[in-house]
Subunit: 250 residues, 2 copies
């Protein structure tokens, strides 16, 4: 029987800037008597990573510029929040219906450049995406190897909306210890036809799977996916980002 298990890690403390998140995650696993195994995928939501890395901004410290003020006035937003969003953006992809779709410095395309005011400990503060989510994933992976002695993959996630479809889903924004794409190039279907759709974004599918045990209320910011034979390799977020030249929805 082919089976994949998705196990939520509970009992993490409220994460604060400077905290040792890797240690907190490893400790949470120990406390719920979950022994990490080689080949596990540890999926961690961006919010706790951002908090541990101090990627929190107090809006009282932000002085919005004229452009941020104009946008805020038109759409009844907080001009300080808009200023932070613009600061995190390399490019604006769309701006309409009160929604700002940004390309972040990492090359991610998402609403508000991933800046989020929910699930932060203090009202009036917002969380930015990690500066380098692949590095965040690698740091956790390395600690798991050093302290628990296991070779695991790590995926950092965030929830984004999608064109055309309602609802958000979890996406991978950083990976370590695996290739994020499963490549079927050269594989044949049972009828002998070579598969033309050659790549599945399995890191995104792992992110979505983990969200099923995490929920949005941030009480389960990490999950272990066990039994999935992920593609080996040294992957990165960049592997998941389409070449702008080939994108039809820039």
């Amino acid at each position: 029987m082919t089976e994949v298990r998705i196990i939520g890690l509970v009992g993490l403390p409220e994460v604060r800037p400077g905290d040792d998140l890797a240690a907190q995650i490893l400790q949470a696993a120990v406390e719920q008597q979950l022994t990490l195994e080689a080949g596990d995928v540890l999926v961690v939501t961006q919010k706790v990573v951002s908090k541990a890395e101090g990627r929190i901004v107090d809006l009282d410290d932000v002085e919005p510029g004229d452009f941020a003020r104009q946008i805020a006035e038109r759409w009844e937003k907080d001009a300080r929040l808009v200023e932070v969003v613009l600061g995190e953006s390399a490019r604006i992809v769309r701006m309409d219906h009160g929604v700002v779709i940004c390309e972040t410095k990492h090359g991610l395309i998402c609403a508000n450049a991933g800046v989020d005011s929910s699930n932060v400990e203090k009202l009036g503060t917002v969380a930015l995406l990690p500066d380098d989510p692949d590095a965040s994933a690698t740091a956790i992976r390395d600690r798991a190897a050093a302290e628990a002695g296991v070779d695991i993959a790590v995926v950092i996630t965030d929830t984004f909306g999608r064109p055309w479809r309602e609802g958000h889903v979890n996406f991978a924004i950083g990976v370590a210890g695996m290739a994020p794409l499963w490549d079927y190039a050269g594989a044949y279907d049972p009828a002998g036809l070579e598969l033309k759709v050659t790549q599945m974004a399995v890191a995104d599918e792992l992110a979505s799977a983990a969200e099923l045990v995490q929920g949005k209320l941030e009480r389960t910011p990490a999950a272990v996916v066990r039994g999935y034979d992920y593609p080996k390799g040294d992957g990165s977020l960049a592997d998941l980002l389409r070449d702008p030249e080939l994108d039809l929805f820039r």
Copy 2:
């Protein structure tokens, strides 16, 4: 411990037009000694549904029109395949780089209107999306209730690409016995802030999770997700489709 299990259903026969797919799936579960339980989500790939429903077209029977011939010549495609894609489309969203992004009659936006030439039994034939994927899901759900005596949810899936990101992921294209969106409206995060991102597309996340045990070579066309407390209700694909008026990427 919060745990969700994803169990692949193996041993289904090659599905042919007119086959009783629900019976085949229920039989496969019995054969691998998996007893369906109330609250399970049965995730079924579109391809076997389309085959059972006879949604297979032999390209030898297709006479391409002038528009299909022009597109085919420009991008070195099979004009008969292009003709089938156009026939399944209500609207063309984008057409460039040899890619045709269509809006299907169901309101789905995807490449080639979901017409697929892989994993069909006979070379030179293509599979269309089910005519009414919600009805396909409902039929399977009703049979599970009648024959196995269990109240389950059913999700029909297909793999689509996405703007901006490499790789395909599994999406829900039909649902029965559940609401496809988890609505957090009125929920508060631990800091007391009302959640603004109010909906998660959990049917799409279930689809992605199931793909982890299904793979692309179509040997595991169905999977059971167990332990996920899905939102109850009578949902449909329409719930997952964004109002065109509010969409920024039409």
